[in-house]
Amino acid sequence: MSEPRLRDGRSWNFNAPVVACTFDGEGVAAFALGDGTLRTISPSAHAPQTNELHKGAILSLAAHHTGGFLTGGDDGRVVHTSQTEPPREIASVKGRWIENVTTSAETDLVAYTASKTATILHGSQATTLTHPSTAAGVCFDPKGRRIAVAHYDGASLWWVKATDQQPKMLQWKGSHLGVTWSPDGRFLVTTMQENALHGWRLDDAADMRMSGYPSKVKSFAWDRRGKMLFTSGSTRVIGWSFTGRNGPMGREPMEMGPEREDFVQVVATHPKADMIAAGTADGAVWLESIGDPGAEFLLLDGGKITALAFSPDGSHLALGTEDGYAALAPV
């Protein structure tokens, strides 16, 4: 097997699959691994710090809006890790996996999923929402007032503060996995078991089907203006425009980046510039400016890329692979 060729930056071999990576608001990078550890590195540090957090694999990672990171594991625990305090377990569900964690800075909420439930945490107060089948994906709306949960045959929308409520059901047959709310609050989009996205315009629940992918879509990211949704699932990055009343309906999606033999696995969008990053199954990571074709390769032969994230100032890209290789590359 060939060695990873990183154009510039620092790299590590963590010897366990990199499940996810992200940065917190302070620019600390975090890599969540299949051995239950979270490796964190602040911009000034020389070596990553190892935080032993979970018994099995970490399955989900999110930056916490108050600083530090949230992780969910296949040990059923949700843990908050910060640079200043020892890791703290904030929730635990016996015998279940925590496959998603997310936060809302706007309303100071945390949410996680376990089996058919999504639980919203506000301080020590917990509200558990139950669904007809496994809660496969979860996200807050941009204002943090509602929460969407993807499951079989659609998605459920709940108000985060209401008690004793029935969710609004957005229905579409099939298994919905990931979910994202458009930054302008007008659309909800899910990734599906089929090679497609499904979307709903929320004011009238009109359906939008975005298909044509050669493989399952596992990763998506909104551009910094919140108007384009970029996705994995093809040999190039596919971008759907959500401007106008009809969003992507009746328009061809945008294709970006070089045509590779293997599929794009992960996408990330630059927080300050019109730029996207993508990682492929054959171990390439590239950058390309939106509307200015010509990709710049940051990594080649890296093994299957499983995680990508831009730092908050956009100066660095964190990346990780299935084989446990991880790097921080200057952009």
Binding site: V19, E99, K116, S133, T134, K173
Partner: protein, 320 residues
């Protein structure tokens, strides 16, 4: 990266699946397993991983009306592959009343599952004492036997030799291909249960000693599941037989549970192997016929309400 073999354990309620699982997990075998179960209860296991799940079945929107898959398995297998510590094998226990199709189809339909795992066998545990009664009063018991790549015929100490012979004849009517292992309290060598390569096209013949001699049995029974075996000694037209199989499975795939075949295609030096689970078929030219080997074609269908004369006619029309 090598694919982790997966064994699916089915069997009607009380047949002994849990006993078999407990044996597998507590035996000293130096292997590391992940076991996916429904409601296992509390047992102390050091080395292995038990994952509790709810069977969640859904229909794929791919135009295939019978293509139901287990979404929970797709997620769990994906999660297991993220762990640093890998497994030698994965066992999936289905509930006693489950139809095995969705779990099996999951391994043909999802690309991530296909990349990281491979189905090793569907192993059905059958209770020698009660199976004839269950075949009378349920559909699932017959389906689980018909679907099996191998059968563990358990509780043989609770029946007489005559009864046992009768049970085996009945099993053979439903499934002429699967080897039968007789056991008491599910005592069986692990090596016999695991590592069967039942879905490996290159081993379809090697695997089933009965495949060559498999024959359709008399249909004097009250279940509607049966098997039909078709043979041709002349080479087949490759295009015709492919089209016939494709149409047949598209039309009748809901009632055809399993099919397997070795085909001698005209003007080809390699033999073709195929197998299907309902409508989901895979087939390929697989190896050269050996010089001293008798060339022939044989297909076995196991399913419900099979129309043998019609299958015979369709197959005969494919001879080149």
């Amino acid at each position: 990266m090598s694919q982790v073999p997966v064994t699916v354990l089915t069997g009607y309620l009380g047949a002994g699946k849990t006993t078999l699982l407990n044996r597998i997990l507590t035996e000293q075998h130096g292997k590391r397993f992940a076991v996916i179960v429904n409601e296992f209860g509390e047992i102390g296991i050091d080395n292995d991983l038990i994952v509790d799940t709810d069977e969640e079945i859904f229909e794929m929107n791919n135009g295939c009306i019978c293509c139901t898959v287990r979404g929970d398995l797709i997620r769990i297998l994906g999660g297991l592959m993220k762990r640093k510590d890998k497994f030698d094998a994965i066992l999936i226990e289905t509930t006693g009343l489950a139809d095995p199709s969705p779990v099996v189809q999951t391994f043909f339909v999802d690309d991530d599952v296909k990349e990281k795992t491979k189905l090793d066998s569907v192993t059905t545990v059958v209770d020698a004492k009660n199976v004839l009664a269950r075949l009378q009063d349920t559909n699932e018991a017959a389906e689980q036997i018909a679907f099996a790549d191998q059968i563990i015929l358990n509780k043989t100490d609770l029946v007489s030799a005559d009864e046992l012979a009768k049970v085996e004849r009945r099993i053979r009517e439903l499934n002429p291909l699967a080897p039968i292992h007789r056991t008491q309290r599910c005592a069986i060598d692990l090596d016999k249960v695991l590592g069967r390569h039942a879905f490996d096209l290159s081993r379809i013949l090697d695997l089933d000693p009965d495949f060559l001699s498999a024959d359709a049995h008399d249909h004097e029974h009250n279940s509607d599941i049966s098997s039909v075996s078709l043979t041709a000694s002349k080479p087949l037209d490759g295009d015709k037989v492919t089209a016939w199989l494709r149409n047949l499975l598209a039309e009748k795939g809901q009632s055809i549970l399993r099919s397997k075949g070795i085909l001698d295609i005209k003007n080809r030096e390699e033999r073709m192997a195929f197998q299907a689970v309902h409508m989901v078929m895979e087939g390929d030219f697989q190896r050269r016929w050996k010089d001293d080997e008798k060339r022939f074609s044989r297909i076995v269908f196991i399913g419900r309400d099979l129309d043998e004369p019609e299958l015979q006619r369709g197959f005969a029309a494919c001879v080149a």
